[in-house]
């Protein structure tokens, strides 16, 4: 084994967490030292409230919604839980027949698990919507599922773009089908904001999840955009903050950092996507030159600009990850972990891969700090790493 490079690592796991923008760090740090609870009525309270509300306004402007539609949360998982459970509860309270929760089979666990929880513990039914081999929702199957009994659908959740394989989902078409029956649609857009053009109003969505640490903002702060007319039951009860949907003392420093990051990420989205997309294309092209039987998973065109999810037949992804990590190259197998044990990815399984194929993949995700020498490092290391990982895999047969 080679020792990890003493220089700074080649960080290609931006889809997990991307480094904070300096402007976000500055905005957050500046606010950290300022006293004040945004719910207090005195001057310090009003000052804290102003930071929160100005942040809300700027974020609303960037995401194409009204300020009153932004609900601040602790991040993506909370936002997804709030959307799935909160909307399902409110919809069933209005009409007890609305018990079907439709989600794509490739959602993040932050959507899948609340959906399954609603089914297992709260009397709902969850339907996993099929995707094609590229990971894109099968619209015909979706339409059939809705139209089988539209009156029984509580909500639909379809992610904007997949965190593992990068495939962009047909959110507009999903909304069109649902809207015809008055069914609300939620989308987890944590990977999309700043990477793809995201406009909440234009999308027709009823709720949308975003989070700070995927777009250059801080960890532990994010939001759910909720259309005004949509009822959402609360998960957290208490002081009644955030339209009574999400109690809890507001977080001005986090929101200041989030606000700065969202504004910059959305403002620079097109240029960022062009630059990172070109770098990603070069990475894929050159890796395929070195390892000709590797292949790109997901949609070849309609995908997140920074995502390169590659299959290496005859390898285990976690062997490759370890070998690259030892060379200072940091990436991901892209799949969920329990106790650090890699499970075959549910996304790849839903795309029709067998469990072996689902284990042989690596996700390189590029971001704002990625540079051409990162690609060079991967291209130099991947050949020998694949060779060794294959030898290890053959030995395990």
């Amino acid at each position: 084994m080679n020792t990890a490079a003493s220089t700074s690592p080649v960080y290609l796991d931006h889809a997990a967490t991307t480094p904070m923008l300096p402007e976000a760090v500055e905005a957050m740090v500046r606010q950290q030292g300022v006293p004040g609870n945004a719910s207090s009525l005195h001057g310090s309270g009003r000052q804290a409230r102003r930071v929160v509300e100005e942040g809300r306004e700027r974020i609303a402007h960037a995401l194409g919604c009204r300020p009153g539609e932004v609900v601040f949360t602790s991040g993506g998982t909370e936002s997804d839980n709030l959307a799935l459970k909160g909307i399902a509860w409110a919809r069933r309270a209005r009409d007890p027949r609305r018990t079907r929760v439709l989600v794509t089979a490739v959602e993040h666990h932050a959507v899948l698990d609340p959906a399954h929880w609603l089914a297992d513990a709260d009397g709902f039914e969850v339907e996993l919507l099929a995707v094609d081999a590229r990971g894109r929702l099968d619209l015909d199957a979706y339409r059939a599922s809705v139209e089988r009994d539209p009156g029984s659908v509580a909500l639909v959740s379809v992610m904007w773009a997949n965190n593992e394989v990068g495939t962009v989902q047909p959110v507009r078409e999903v909304v069109d089908v649902a809207a015809a029956h008055g069914i609300p649609v939620h989308s987890d857009a944590v990977q999309a904001v700043g990477a793809l053009p995201v406009d909440f109003a234009a999308s027709g969505l009823d709720a949308m999840t975003f989070t700070g640490h995927k777009l250059g903002g801080p960890l532990g702060v994010g939001g759910l955009v909720v259309r005004r007319e949509v009822e959402v039951g609360a998960l957290l009860h208490g002081g009644g903050q955030e339209r009574d949907m999400r109690s809890g003392t507001l977080n001005p420093p986090g929101i200041a950092g989030l606000d700065a990051a969202v504004a910059i990420a959305v403002e620079g989205q097109a240029g960022h996507a062009d630059r990172v997309g070109a770098l990603r294309d070069e990475l894929v092209r050159r890796v395929l030159e070195v390892v000709p039987d590797a292949h790109l998973h997901g949609d070849p065109v309609d995908r997140l600009p920074g995502n390169a999810h590659l299959g290496f037949p005859g390898c285990e992804g976690d062997s490759l990850l370890m070998l690259l990590d030892a060379q200072g190259i940091e990436c991901s197998t892209g799949s969920a972990c329990s106790a650090g044990v890699p499970q075959p990815s549910h996304v790849l399984l839903a795309m029709g891969c067998d469990p072996d194929q689902a284990r042989h993949s690596l996700r390189f995700s590029l971001g704002r700090t990625s540079v051409p020498s990162d690609v060079d490092a991967v291209v130099a290391a991947i050949g020998p790493a694949v060779e060794r990982a294959r030898a290890a895999h053959r030995g395990a047969r």
Partner: protein, 385 residues
């Protein structure tokens, strides 16, 4: 790195010696529990986190390798099959042979590592003939060379046991000094995959309706009399005294021990302690650490933490015959006989049959009653750690 103190200190020593060390925790359970219970020291998510924290403190990379399928096929299934056949397996030897120094070692070598280091208490040194020798640990109370007796020369060449020269208290003190939080974590004793240490309960559940679960009779060896019934032979080990639940005492009032287990008919044969005395052992599937002997005068150990018996060992291909100069008691087929030449491990073989010392009957047994330790010791075979 199991999450225990031994593997943590072994990793720290290997790193300090200048090796390029990577910490690996083996996920051996398909459904790991969140927290430790009882005396187990591995296999839960909490143990995995302990191992990760130790690696952080040492400053080495850390990964979890999922070997749960291999472990299930090679160790757990074997454990059940052996019990189903009326034998008493030692899963720790099996794990060392098939998992730690086979599946893990092979993968490690393929990925570019040179060796697997573990926290086992045993010593390695290179002999005059250039072969790697394995010796008992300095701490005889902690010595684990018995459960490593299945390792071949090829495996030993790629093994490191950094703790072999230390005592357990010294290892704990060193862990404390190094700031390893596992320093005072209790030793594990039970079989790692039997969560609550209830071996019989585990077997009852897992064996389902296989033969040893059918129940049967408990018979007296001398008279053939049926003394009682039982729920399944899996609950018995040769030499066991406790838990027989025989209503009537023997005519001579002395305790009775399990002498023989017949899983198909479900018959458990019991008799007096002297009928446990064994003078000759047949074994097969030998694994030699170095040169294959054909005749050797040395010692054998017949269960984990068991006594050493002076013996003459005869080897003919796959068959091993062991003449015991000091008779042994309660020898269970399925257990490993590990052969030593002084402190050096020569090899091991799996016991297939134990031949009793001829006695004149149940009337001339020893006058002193057996101790509880003797009975407890007989079940050691499945609790080696």
């Amino acid at each position: 790195m199991s999450g225990g103190v031994d593997s943590a200190v072994a990793a720290a020593r290997a790193a300090e010696a200048g090796h390029d060390v990577t910490g690996v925790h083996l996920a051996l359970s398909r459904n790991p529990a969140s927290y430790r219970t009882g005396a187990r020291g591995c296999c839960t998510i909490e143990d995995s986190n302990d191992a990760r924290r130790a690696a952080d403190v040492i400053g080495i990379p850390f990964y979890v390798w999922d070997l749960s399928d291999r472990f299930h096929d090679d160790v757990v299934e074997d454990f059940m099959d052996e019990y189903a056949a009326g034998r008493t397996p030692n899963p720790c030897l099996r794990c060392n042979e098939k998992i730690k120094f086979a599946a893990v070692l092979d993968r490690a070598l393929a990925l570019g590592f040179d060796a697997v280091a573990t926290g086992h208490y045993a010593r390695l040194r290179t002999g005059d003939d250039g072969l790697v020798e394995m010796h008992r640990a300095v701490d005889h109370g902690k010595d684990q060379s018995y459960v490593l007796g299945v390792l071949t020369q090829d495996q030993l060449r790629h093994a490191l046991f950094p703790l072999g020269d230390s005592t357990k208290p010294a290892v704990r003190a060193e862990a404390e000094r190094r700031g390893l939080l596992v320093a005072d974590k209790p030793d594990s004793h039970d079989i790692c995959f039997v969560a609550d240490g209830d071996n019989a309960g585990w077997l009852r559940e897992k064996l389902g309706d296989r033969a040893p679960n059918h129940g049967g009779q408990i018979r007296d060896e001398a008279t053939g009399e049926v003394l009682g019934t039982h729920e399944g032979t899996y609950g018995f080990t040769i030499g066991q005294r406790k838990g027989l639940r025989i209503g009537r005492p023997a005519p001579d009032g002395r305790p009775r021990f399990v002498l023989d287990i017949e899983p198909v008919s479900g018959t458990v044969t019991v008799g007096p302690r002297e009928r446990l005395r064994v003078e000759r052992i047949d074994a097969f599937r030998p694994r030699w650490c170095g040169t294959v002997p054909d005749r050797l005068e040395g010692t054998v150990q017949l269960r984990a933490h068991g006594a050493e018996h002076r013996a003459v060992v005869h080897v003919a291909g796959d068959d091993v015959r062991i003449e015991l100069l000091d008779p042994a008691e309660g020898i269970a087929p399925g257990q490993a006989a590990v052969v030593y030449d002084g402190t050096r491990v020569v090899g091991s073989a799996t016991i297939t049959a134990a031949h009793r010392v001829a006695t004149d009957g149940a009337t001339d047994g020893p006058t002193d009653g057996p101790t509880d330790e003797a009975a407890a010791g007989a079940t050691d075979g499945v609790t080696a750690r």
